[in-house]
Symmetry: C2
Subunit: 212 residues, 2 copies
């Protein structure tokens, strides 16, 4: 045990607070100005730290971005699986609908995601690998979810798995863009539900095949 | 008539060429680095002009961006209407499918659109008004297209117009993002067609109502 413990403890609390504040400031600034358009100096200023104080917690702007994105993915992952296993079959689409409803109360996080994921398409971007693995994870989960739904007989065996997965991810992403531009005129939850109901109408095993 | 006309004419040709080269260079750089991440100096360098030479043709970076985006919209608009009136009913969705097929050969223009439209969500961005009117135009056209399809009896009268319009725009936008990240693994035309076929299966007047 090191001495004096009381001062150490206060420093730890203060460190955790500073990290949390810096992450929140970074979310706001990256959302508004993108990663490239945001300087470490501006994050430090909004956090109430000196630049070297901020760099003590996050050694680079890229490290700060990683912390922000990983925190968001971890939180969303917990929400989607509700503390248990990842949902399968149509339940996976229902859990995404719940996430969309939750996102529609969090414009800054949505703005961050839209801005950074558009920037990070570029291979040299510090979030490029994060973005690739983010999509790979969502695609792998939804692909499994559809296949399990097919095995369990709730999704038709002739459903085009790739199209169900990728159009659903596209609707998620595209509605975020429309909502950011027009928050009062675009109901993300209602529109995402319409998409999922369309998939169910066409591909639920209980449904008749659509006319050719 | 001014003197000497031959020199005037050569300058005009050279001016048009320089403008076209600058627009192409701007497309490439804005697509790779975004609007904010691209300097006029870099556009000038790639165009083969001095910075003041470039500013002679485009008085600001914002003017260059406007020229790029308006050229793209004008070209897409002509393609979609094929020189005639804007298509209505399901034909509007078919013309979008043709545009998606064409876009899948133009990664730079798609990259430009994805990057700039994510940035321009921010109200202060120089392309913000362009983006708002771009979405307003697409929404107005597709809304009319669905309503005319309903009046003419090819789209069911109980089809949710707003959801058809907005999920279709979301699929267009979202697939571009996925394709830029994974050009070999994502077939935009195939996936967009799957979305449109889903809408037709559910909402064509010829189709039976889906089971409740």
């Amino acid at each position: 045990m090191s001495f004096p413990p009381r001062y150490r403890s206060r420093a730890d609390v203060s460190g955790a607070e500073s990290r949390a504040k810096a992450v929140q400031a970074a979310i706001e600034l990256f959302a508004a100005s993108g990663y490239k358009g945001t300087s470490i100096a501006r994050v430090a200023e909004r956090t109430g730290l000196s630049q070297s104080g901020l760099l003590h917690h996050f050694p680079s702007k890229a490290a700060l971005l990683s912390a922000v994105l990983e925190a968001r993915d971890a939180e969303d992952g917990e929400f989607l699986s509700a503390g248990g296993d990842a949902p399968m079959g149509w339940a996976a689409f229902d859990s995404l609908a719940a996430l969309v409803a939750r996102n529609s109360t969090r414009p800054q996080l949505v703005g961050l995601y839209v801005r950074v994921s558009a920037e990070a398409v570029e291979p040299g971007h510090p979030a490029h690998e994060w973005l690739r693995s983010h999509y790979a994870n969502v695609e792998a989960w939804l692909t499994d979810a559809v296949r399990v739904g097919q095995e369990q007989g709730e999704i038709r065996s002739d459903a085009p798995v790739d199209a169900l997965v990728r159009t659903t991810i596209a609707v998620l992403d595209g509605l975020q863009q429309q909502w950011l531009l027009n928050p009062g005129g675009v109901s993300m939850p209602k529109l995402f539900n319409a998409h999922v109901q369309g998939l169910r109408a066409q591909w639920s095993s209980a449904a008749e095949p659509p006319p050719r």
